[in-house]
Subunit: 218 residues, 2 copies
């Protein structure tokens, strides 16, 4: 059993996920199915079939933005989870400002969190980025605030995990993105994480790159 | 709501987790509670209160091993999730052999997966390491195989996620570790992930370092 190739395991896994969704009476929308299935593949958690919300044409617009585009993540863990082969194929880049000393200085000077300071750097240095938030609800709230001031990122992925401020931050970003017509993919509720944020990025990247059966999960 | 400090959010989150465990009628063992609560904190998924299995004194022995010890992860994502401040405080290190060109060469030469080749490198270069596996069931199977040949790592964290070979690989490592008296912490079933593997490492690191209220989740 140790010698099955990663691409075969991936195909077999997706078949199992599809079969179990059918058993649960869940029919996915073709537009969003690839994202939902990849998040379930990453977590083995079928709750995401209910939790994930997409604004109008969010997948299509996200895929378009990732051709030669920039992903900004809120943790180095999400950054490490974004597929390098897919990024390379699309001439895209991925960045994280969180652990940068400059971000820490700006946070200290402004009396705010590093997560919030990192959002300002993203707005200044990568205004058309796909923003992938898997950890910090304060990042989502700051993004919403800056969007009210006029910022229009290419896509907001809202997937922090946790018990304090998390549910509210995701409802808020979904409302703001819907109202301002910025594409958003949001994991409502408490669940999410850097792995979920990265999985959503990867589903979009694989679609954009035509890599429907990536040869590696990492 | 954006201005609560991370340490306060952490404390508040742990209180909510404890209260919900009580409501669910789950009384945690004091020995393993810190690990279980941190995994729930990382995933917002209470299934881990049932899924996590610990061999005899696994937490105590894992904590001891992490004082000046080495963690070897099976993904760069898990590596990125391991707390640097806690590692530094304990004079510990963390490594991942997966993305290393040398591992790719060895895998090609041996006709095996990178995950399996990375295990052999861990055995050769860090034989007393804490092994944190959050992705590759083949890594767990290879670890079990090498343990049957005599290898005794300090602790095996078995938390791959997925639908193919994953459940079996975790049952196998738990059986082998129990029989050979190597400490193991295993997330039985399909669920797990790099985030879960990193959270288990961090729970042990925080305990070893006396960092019960870490100032950051990352």
């Amino acid at each position: 059993m140790a010698h099955i190739k990663p691409a075969e395991i991936e195909r077999e896994s997706m078949k199992i996920i599809e079969a179990e969704l059918t058993v649960r009476g869940i029919a996915l929308n073709p537009e969003t199915a690839a994202v939902i299935k990849r998040v379930i593949h990453t977590t083995a958690d079928f709750d995401y079939a209910d939790n994930l919300r997409f604004t109008s044409r969010a997948v299509e617009r996200g895929v378009e933005a990732l051709r030669g585009g920039v992903i900004v993540t809120d943790t180095n863990m999400a950054l490490a989870g974004v597929s390098r082969p897919a990024l390379t194929r699309l001439s895209g880049t991925a960045r994280c400002f969180m652990a940068d000393p400059e971000t820490a200085e700006q946070a200290k000077a402004a009396g705010t969190t590093r997560a919030a300071a990192a959002v300002l750097r993203a707005e200044a240095e990568a205004p058309n980025a796909v923003l992938a938030v898997g950890n910090a609800p304060t990042a989502l709230l700051r993004i919403a605030e800056r969007m009210e001031m006029g910022w229009r990122p290419a896509l907001v992925i809202g997937a922090p995990v946790g018990f304090v401020n998390v549910v509210e931050s995701k409802e808020r970003i979904l409302e703001v993105c819907t109202r301002l017509d910025v594409p958003a993919i949001v994991a409502l509720g408490r669940k999410g994480g850097s792995n979920v944020a990265a999985a959503i990025c990867n589903a979009l990247l694989y679609t954009a790159a035509g890599l429907l059966d990536p040869s590696s999960r990492n």
